[in-house]
Subunit: 327 residues, 2 copies
Amino acid sequence: MSPPPIWLMRQAGRYLPEYRAVREVAGGFLNLCYDPEKAADVTLQPLRRFGFDAAILFSDILVIPHALGQDVTFEAGEGPRLEPIRDADGLGKLSMDNLHQSLGPIYETVKRVSADLPDGAALIGFAGAPWTVATYIVEGSGSRDYPNAKAWALGNPDGFQVLVDMLVNATTEYLLRQVAAGAEALQLFDTWAGVLPKYAFDRFSAEPIREIARRIKAEYPDIPIIAFPRGANLYLPEMAKAPEIDAIGIDYAVDPVWAAREIQPHATVQGNFDPILLLAGGDQLERRAVEIVEALSGGPHVFNLGHGILPQTPLEHVERLVKAVRG
Amino acid sequence: MSPPPIWLMRQAGRYLPEYRAVREVAGGFLNLCYDPEKAADVTLQPLRRFGFDAAILFSDILVIPHALGQDVTFEAGEGPRLEPIRDADGLGKLSMDNLHQSLGPIYETVKRVSADLPDGAALIGFAGAPWTVATYIVEGSGSRDYPNAKAWALGNPDGFQVLVDMLVNATTEYLLRQVAAGAEALQLFDTWAGVLPKYAFDRFSAEPIREIARRIKAEYPDIPIIAFPRGANLYLPEMAKAPEIDAIGIDYAVDPVWAAREIQPHATVQGNFDPILLLAGGDQLERRAVEIVEALSGGPHVFNLGHGILPQTPLEHVERLVKAVRG
């Protein structure tokens, strides 16, 4: 059997010395996202070093709130800070008027990567899913329990829907332009999908992802859409059955044997090696990588991590992982 | 149909003015846990105010590492701080020698609560499950990704097993004494069970919980054991089928309709109202509470939250919830 394709979430990142070198001279993190030359360079760095089968656009999910007019900054070592928006009045500050102007440099990055992509590699575009982007818009930062976003979504669902609809529109526009610029597949990251009760997951995670996918397929019927509603593991089979969803990202907590049975009949499975094991190394690294490859060998599988690669990860562990997967 | 019994996780806590009054004069948080008179008082406060059907011992999961000899402190507003233990050498600092001496005041609290319990109410004892307690022992604090605990557990499982075995022993001893002092049911909280790959969940979350339950049932065959492996939702049916597990706690992300079908045939279901909705109020409060009651009405159900009650929760929202559940 031929090995699955492999790429790693956050493969263009701080564990790479060549990334740190570019990052150092780029100014702030958002500056790097909006600098097509440097962003294209860091997007391609991990392919040059490890020969991964896919490049994923180097960008951030918070370029969407930024393009909608929200103040977004990244403080070193502290993560993002946004001017929080917590009610209908606050939504008045957001506007689609400058969307493409703000996101233009990112489309240019996609074009450059597409032109320089190694033979046989695919270029994946991406965006944050509306629920996860909304949590940042509402909380103003990363959060453990999302009290404000959840209180709004659960307590006043019709009011919260206005924000989600706005994000569906903006995200669709953004992704359509990525495809026009050369993206060959699209991933929607719903990192905080797992914190919603089922009724709210259906309305604010699954349905917006599906709506974006449907609108993109109306223009580009053949573009594969990868949904990664992290932590919403009970509801992955239902999402896999949606005709507009082609692949499902699975996090490290998902049993690959279960995923082979419940997801692979309906969608490609992407995941789910634990990035902590890639950091730790030891003989478990190869053992668990091979376990995942074997569990998912009976259907379509893209090898990946179950969460982003950690900045302290040794390069030689990544090399060992690629070797273990390719056999 | 008769309404389900109801109690709320962290029902003895900061949302109650009478709790805050005791807390203020108790000195540090651990002092309150080790003061039988005050701890018994705060344990019973929510029953006096709301007439809940169960009292849960007021204590903390970190009394176990403390009793094993680890330095544990609680800084106001910062959560717990422990002197982290990250390898086999560090384990040498832990010892069972003073376990019961350190935990003695807690057994005394259980006795007092048991003597003063309102008619018809049950007294639930509890402990942290080994995996979750181990994350605190290893990280030295709360953590988002548990990098050190997971690196040890996944990278060197046999070494990590030594710590888990120690916690199984200590926790069993602790819970047996709680039963001897008057606890009528026991809950094991595995708050971070959801961050483990399946093979590690089986070994370090499910099996230790089951082993503790088996040892307790060897002495007290009729004591109900409630397991709450939070976030490990795909694996709840398997745990529900374990003969030594009587009830399963479900968090807010679990669809109660799914739980009725997959868990209730094997175990009582406890949960899963979202504490954010109890904070937010509005007409969704009653609607979603009734939805849970109805979904789980065909089998054994204990109404509860899907996570601990939040400190800012208004008292009148709790009153509304109790009324909605009792009809």
